[in-house]
């Protein structure tokens, strides 16, 4: 019962803030709603028992990535919103069509869910307890190569961002 209340409340926040993100005119407000949305998603992770991921979500997403967005929004200082000059070739219809496709997908999920229950996976042998430890264990054993690749990706992205953003090298 408590879980259901928490889920529906948080889900409402997640979707509500998401709608605000894409619909608000002022870009800075949009960024703020994005932060709130990420915080709500973090709450969802806590509900799912993934505390580590929740902390990462707040630390990296809300405290890091979105600050970058805010920086850029402040740096580019929009005079007049891009939406003001409407372009008739804009694919609004395609967007709505895709939305319809997703609705169909939602229906499919529901139908599938009723038809066949989800099978239980056998517990993997992880010799540690605690969410953070589990994630860490998998990250540094089975998924070590992807982890290294991810770190390389971040390094490359960092260099790329510096090259792009710096006016003269």
């Amino acid at each position: 019962m408590g879980e259901a209340i928490a889920f529906y409340t948080i889900a409402a926040f997640v979707l509500g803030f998401a709608v605000m993100v894409v619909s608000t005119k002022d870009t800075v407000h949009s960024v703020l709603f994005l932060v709130l949305d990420f915080l709500a998603v973090a709450a969802l992770y806590v509900l799912l028992g993934a505390e580590f991921l929740a902390a990462i979500q707040v630390l990296v997403y809300a405290g890091g990535i979105v600050v970058l967005y805010l920086f850029v929004v402040m740096l580019v200082n929009l005079k007049g919103f891009p939406e003001e000059n409407r372009d008739p070739h804009r694919r609004t219809k395609l967007g709505l069509g895709l939305a319809a496709a997703v609705v169909v997908e939602l229906g499919a999920i529901l139908a599938y869910d009723y038809a066949r229950p989800v099978p239980q996976l056998a517990d993997a042998a992880i010799p540690v307890v605690g969410n953070t430890e589990e994630v860490g264990w998998l990250l540094y054993t089975s998924y070590l190569i992807p982890f290294e690749i991810a770190s390389m990706l971040l390094l490359v992205a960092m260099i790329g961002a510096i090259v792009l953003a710096k006016r003269e090298l």
Partner: protein, 383 residues
């Protein structure tokens, strides 16, 4: 036009944007805590780097020079108080000596000695204020209060001498208005004793402080010839290694009878200007000690005519105020009881000319450090 990274040239349009990737115009002052009054500096910034600076002055203009042309010779003394209001006694001395030069009056030795004491006390007081505000601008707030504590002692001495604490009106043409109070010289020596240890205290907080060094070394470097070309004077000039001191070069008051050194800097950065002024504290104390101990007896006023009416002619006389060369240029027509033309060469004003040159290429934070390092008083800049 600005060169962009892609190699294309785009016009650097300034459309009043709040923040741009190109340049930002920042209006520093006239209401700003560290422009030392109503100075206004319009900075063009690239990020935080100062591309150019434009100094706007005149917010404290009271027309002292024009006013003086309509006052009689003695009334002008109190107007000079209001120029460099943190060093009023020096202004008085400079003016009175100029008029004495016009009148060819011989000033008694005792008066000249007392003038020297007052000037040097005033220099210490002014440097205290400079040190306090300069350090405060760079963030060392304790030095500010320490320096003001010692300045207070000097103000007490002045109060005892002439009754005022800021605008002294403490000179008369031809000498002094009154002799020093009894026991005043002992108090001056006592002050020198206190001040000796306090200078060490300031230096302990700043001179070898890493952050202070990083904030002042290499900031606003100006070499000797350029400093002369811009017209800097006083510690700002001596910091660049030019040993120019009016007290030594064209002695006035009793400076030719006393011993002192003129400290000079090596590089000409903010730190050198700081060191020069710190050394000047010591030299001033040395002068005060000599003058107080060797204070001659005798009259305090020379032979001054009842009606001061200098013969027709003009004269320029400069003294070394705490800020630099303070010169008075006075023209007398020989007929009226007021100057025909009165013009001041204020050290702050001339030193301020160097500010745009000094701040170029530095950061916003250095601008306040450099304003502090030039040691300006807006009352003197605008007059």
């Amino acid at each position: 036009m600005t060169e962009t990274r892609a190699g294309a040239v785009t016009p650097a349009v300034h459309h009043g944007a709040m923040f741009d990737t190109n340049e930002l115009v920042l209006n520093m002052g006239p209401q700003h805590p560290s422009t030392h009054g109503v100075l206004r500096v319009v900075l063009r910034l690239d990020g935080e780097k100062v591309v150019d600076a434009d100094v706007v002055i005149g917010y404290l203009h009271r027309g002292i020079e024009k006013l003086s042309e309509n006052r009689n010779w003695t009334q002008i003394i109190l107007l000079t108080d209001r120029m460099d209001y943190v060093a009023a006694a020096t202004n008085n001395v400079g003016y009175c000596e100029t008029v004495e030069k016009l009148l060819s009056i011989e000033v008694p030795r005792r008066a000249r000695y007392v003038r020297t004491i007052l000037c040097e006390l005033q220099r210490i007081a002014s440097h205290c204020l400079w040190l306090g505000t300069h350090a405060m601008d760079i963030g060392a707030m304790t030095v500010f209060l320490y320096a003001f504590r010692e300045r207070e002692l000097i103000l007490d001495l002045f109060e005892e001498f002439c009754g005022a604490r800021l605008t002294y009106n403490s000179m008369r043409i031809g000498g002094l208005p009154l002799d020093i109070p009894s026991g005043w010289d002992r108090k001056v020596l006592e002050f020198c004793r206190i001040m000796d240890s306090k200078i060490l205290e300031y230096e302990e907080l700043l001179t070898h402080n890493r952050i202070w060094l990083e904030r002042t070394k290499g900031i606003g470097v100006i070499d000797g010839p350029e400093a002369v070309a811009i017209g800097l004077s006083g510690p700002a000039l001596r910091g660049s290694g030019v040993p120019r001191d009016v007290r030594k070069d064209e002695p006035y008051a009793a400076y030719d009878e006393l011993e002192f050194d003129v400290p000079i800097g090596a590089v000409g950065d903010t730190y050198d200007r700081y060191l020069v002024r710190m050394e000047e504290f010591r030299q001033s104390l040395r002068l005060i000690r000599q003058a107080t101990e060797g204070l001659p007896e005798g009259p305090i006023v020379g032979k001054v005519p009842r009606l001061i009416k200098p013969p027709a002619g003009e004269t320029y006389h400069a003294i070394e105020s705490p800020k630099g060369e303070l010169g008075y240029f006075i023209v007398s027509d020989g007929k009226s009881t007021n100057p025909y033309r009165f013009r001041v060469r204020p050290p702050s004003f001339c030193n301020l000319q160097g500010l745009p040159r000094l701040v170029r290429g530095h950061l916003v934070a250095d601008v306040v450090a450099l304003i502090g390092s030039l040691d300006i008083v807006l009352g003197e800049v605008d007059r």
